[in-house]
Symmetry: C4
Subunit: 368 residues, 4 copies
């Protein structure tokens, strides 16, 4: 790995964002209809390598069902509005018209309402009743507290997600979450993240998670890089996690999926994330632009409402079409924000690859 | 070739765009009038190393003749408006006044009209009747369908062009285009592209094509990079194709021309493309700014009208002068958009090179 | 150290700014409340690794006390308005409403008023009377002249600061400041800077200073890079100074603190400076946005008033909260300008580090 | 020299502009008044290392005298307005109010007026009568034609200048300029350029020139890079020419001066050019902002009026002060455009260097 010297004794490494790279077509092409986009996770098969982000602007119990029907996996935020309010639609209406100047302060107040265990169960069951795969997210801080309710609601897949989640959390508190023990003993398969490096991904894989979320500070509405100075260029983070996946597979025979999280706004971004090694992508902002999105044409991440250190903005997400159109087209604009997975299919066809795993072999070039 | 590591196990390579490089004058200069710009392709001689892009905004049967008279080669799009409409002028008028918000959707509708075989023949003959070299383009998908009509119309040069065209297309369909067999058996010399790498160019050269078009996602009105994530920095793609040309020449004794396609808007861009190894340049948008261009002061590429995944914009192309002025001057502005080939001549003279092939030796520097 | 060749015979080196890097979380996390931010300098303990810049816009005798109470160290400029005017509030009022066009010229006039020795003593005592640690700055040019007054006023820490300060000043004048002799013989511990390279920092450390200020041309309101062409990308300068600190520690057993000076506007910038090796940060502009700042919602550096070669602007510093909020939150915006040290604490926790010195080990990546 | 591969078989090299670099202060400082800025060229001594560009916007017979009195060397353009018009003031008035849209076309007409030999003599004598060193420029194309007149007018220094000037001009014309023979046989010392590489500079030095102008496409009002694709990042070009100077000195014992030409707009730019190896700087646009400049608050280069391929713009040059102020201060703004040589002096002092030749040793860093 070529080293960079920042200064005397401080080594570093050049990281690459998805915007720094492009996929170079190979010497082979293929018919788009012969391309298979499916994604299999712990026995569940999804027609699209899509995970909808645990943002209240994107996933409600209702939109979760629609996303599932279109072939993706939607993650409901169990510490969001749907588990804090009996009727979040009123709150969503208010957020939809918040002036920018007070947006963060008001989000902080709205998310100060306590999370209610019975709402957690109710929301999960509401999705499950539709017969689709259910998936929802907790923060590491509250996983232990709500784990039992989640099991009782018969969730299919649990996401444990934070800005940074590690396999080795040091704490003087009485009972911090021991991720490895929790996952081993828990009845529901777990997806865990964010992480952004080879060792962090590898250690998360070793906890027994079925997939890791890769990305720190990558979200389009995130301000983590500015606020905390933390981040990792996404193409590099994904490729590093893919490397950890290979090593973990060699060591254990288990293939832990790499889900690229955040910062992808076009089909091209998705294609590049997969070319860098992702098995699937977690996207938020592009879906907030769909008709069925609960976010009232706005997008925000959970960290935007942090009580003392908010790390995200409330951004506009102008209507671009139905969920079906945003995901699978047809597009009637040329900016790449609609028909995201039709674009992925076309890109794979133009490079001659027939499946997501084959696409991992694609050549990428670094552009200036 | 120095490798870049994107991340664990994912290697890459730095690519350079034409904007990343500049030509460094050598220690020799030359009189501009002693510079020879001619370009010889399969027995046809052109005074300028110019191929006009197969865009309805640039090449009509009439403008094709004018471009030929000025020393270039114009490519008529056989799947464009001229082969779909008896009278495309009305359609061009409408496109000329389309509001940006609905441009893509309306282009999609206008290009949904079927291509008519008799119009293909008629348009080719219309150009041929003027006594100039005729050249026209088909997509790989429809080449087989219209190949016979094209021969009957006695076309001089056929261009088979797509966003990405490979020598090895994989398909489960009954009869996909086998490029190698087609070109060997066809009565008309073929120019083929786009491609953007050494192996892709080499394999296209091995099909028997007389020239390859080099460039993926390079066009100024193209959004391929955003929509599909595909692309290749142009200076690198051209140099790679030039390397493939050398190898093919060594292996077969045949010199297949490299035509840099797209993204050049000034004489300086053209000079740099040639310094990187191009034998000629295919340009579109700069010619749409000529008085005789059919595009009504607008420019768009074929992919802008794709029915489900449009990959191009309808951009303004304000009037800059007659075709003669745009190509050979004089210029009365200093931005480099007029007198494109006068500029190429001057640049070659200031570097001491007497011909396009000599200019391939020019030193280029990478600027920050 | 990898060399760059600028041109024939002129070697150079790539430097990195704080904006070029990001901190990559490690495979460990930690509870924020277990993070220790304290900074110990020559026996004085500060709860925050914060030095407030010697700008009249930030440090007055009154705000110095408030900054000290919040855990930082404030540096009063002894050649600023407080030692030139009996009542600087009137002057500050005028500066607060200076139109941009005449700002520099008027600042030059206002700072042309002579520095008065009795005011030096009076201002230092005024701060000391509050029982907090006192710290104030002189330029190398006037250190000898005012050194005695400073001692008499019983200052705790003296800062000798200029755009560039070296341990080896060459002069034909009768008695230039010999920094090494001065510091050895002086009764007050000295912080000295700016410097921006390994050898410059090392030689300043050898003068006996307790800390060095690292940064040339880094301040957000500074125009030193444009005016003088001098500068050093800050991440590299800090890492180099940290390297010099290690060498000096090995040679002498003395740990001289590295204080990153200027150009940090968010908590993320501060975290990165510390990850690169800083023991503390000197910040100005972000504090000018605090309610208690004397600068009337504006910020300027001393060099902005240089009589013949001004090197700084008078910039706006819109109100962001109280000093307590700017330093320790809570923040109600997501741009990182408020809760600077809460952000540092969170960043350290997310990387698993428990102290500033541990944070020096953080991985940083270079982003595009 | 580390190579870059643009693509297969096309090598290149990274070049650095002055904006890519910064000077890193060393571990020594010096009093500004001990810095010597003088520049000696073929027996003539100038107090400042300043050559005023041969632009009609900067050098008239009158301003030439003023520049000389302030310590610099001014170059009158012998193919500009002063040798085409009896009374150029009227023409300058018109240029001063030309609307941007027609500027280039009108400049082309104004400069189509023929150059008159008697005016060449008259203008040179007019400057010489003031007792200052006289210097004027011809293009290589017309040097032979006017060489005799220039000698008769007793010019002190001749500049032979073009966008690119080489020591080896190839031509089929009867009598092209043989630079080497011309300079050897001519009675007046010659400064020649532009050039932008080691070999080009070396060969120009071997013609017997006393100085070479280094820079192609560097001028702030130049569009050579866009129009022709020619250019060379300036820091690299200067360092390469300085390397050629060393080799030529070793081979012949003769020190040929390197004059960095164009693209410097602040004192910092000048300091960086000198740190990269320049003996002096040729500047234009910054001087057009002086009260005494003939350009009516505008700046343009000779190539802006090229009859068929103009390569420069007519740019605004708002008043910044008298020539004395622009060159030697005091400045009352902080953007570095005034007190250019006071800034150079300060920069050299802060780096501890006492002369221009010592400043060649300054450390430079490449910033992101």
């Amino acid at each position: 790995m070529p080293d960079i010297e920042i200064g005397s004794g401080k080594s570093s490494r050049r990281g690459y964002g998805l915007g720094d790279v492009a996929i170079v077509p190979s010497r082979r092409t293929r018919d788009p209809e012969d391309v298979d986009l499916s994604f299999v996770l712990d026995g569940f098969t999804f027609q699209l390598p899509l995970v909808a982000a645990a943002s209240d602007a994107v996933v409600s119990p209702r939109s979760a069902v629609e996303i599932a029907r279109l072939g993706g996996l939607a993650v409901l935020n169990l510490e969001g509005l749907w588990t804090r309010y009996e009727d979040p639609e009123v709150v969503l209406d208010e957020i939809g018209s918040l002036p920018a100047a007070v947006a963060t302060a008001r989000l902080q107040e709205l998310y100060a309402e306590p999370v209610r265990e019975e709402l957690i169960k109710q929301r999960i069951r509401q999705i499950g009743d539709s017969g689709v795969v259910t998936c929802a997210a907790l923060s590491p801080q509250r996983t232990v507290q709500f784990a039992k309710a989640v099991v009782e609601a018969e969730l299919d897949l649990l996401v444990i997600q934070g800005t940074v989640v590690s396999a080795e959390h040091v704490s003087r508190r009485p009972e911090p979450l021991n991720l490895k023990r929790f996952i081993r003993e828990y009845d529901i398969p777990v997806i865990v993240g964010g992480c952004a490096s080879y060792p962090a991904a590898l250690h998360l894989m070793r906890t027994g998670a079925v997939a890791v979320l890769v990305g720190v500070g990558t979200g389009s509405a995130s301000t983590t890089w500015d606020v905390l100075g933390l981040g990792a260029p996404h193409a590099t983070a994904i490729a590093d996690a893919a490397g950890a996946r290979s090593r973990h597979l060699e060591e254990t025979g288990v293939y832990v999926h790499v889900i690229a999280d955040g910062g992808m706004s076009t089909g091209g971004d998705i294609a590049k994330a997969i070319a860098c090694g992702a098995d699937a992508v977690m996207i938020g902002a592009p879906l907030a632009a769909a008709e069925e999105a609960p976010g009232r044409r706005r997008y925000w991440e959970m960290a935007a409402a942090h009580p003392s250190l908010p790390r995200g903005s409330l951004v506009e997400a102008p209507l671009r079409g139905t969920l079906a159109e945003v995901l699978c087209g047809p597009a009637h604009d040329s900016d790449g924000a609609v028909n995201l997975f039709g674009a992925l299919r076309a890109a794979m066809a133009m490079c001659g690859y027939a499946s997501v795993k084959e696409m991992h072999k694609a050549d990428v070039t670094v552009a200036g």
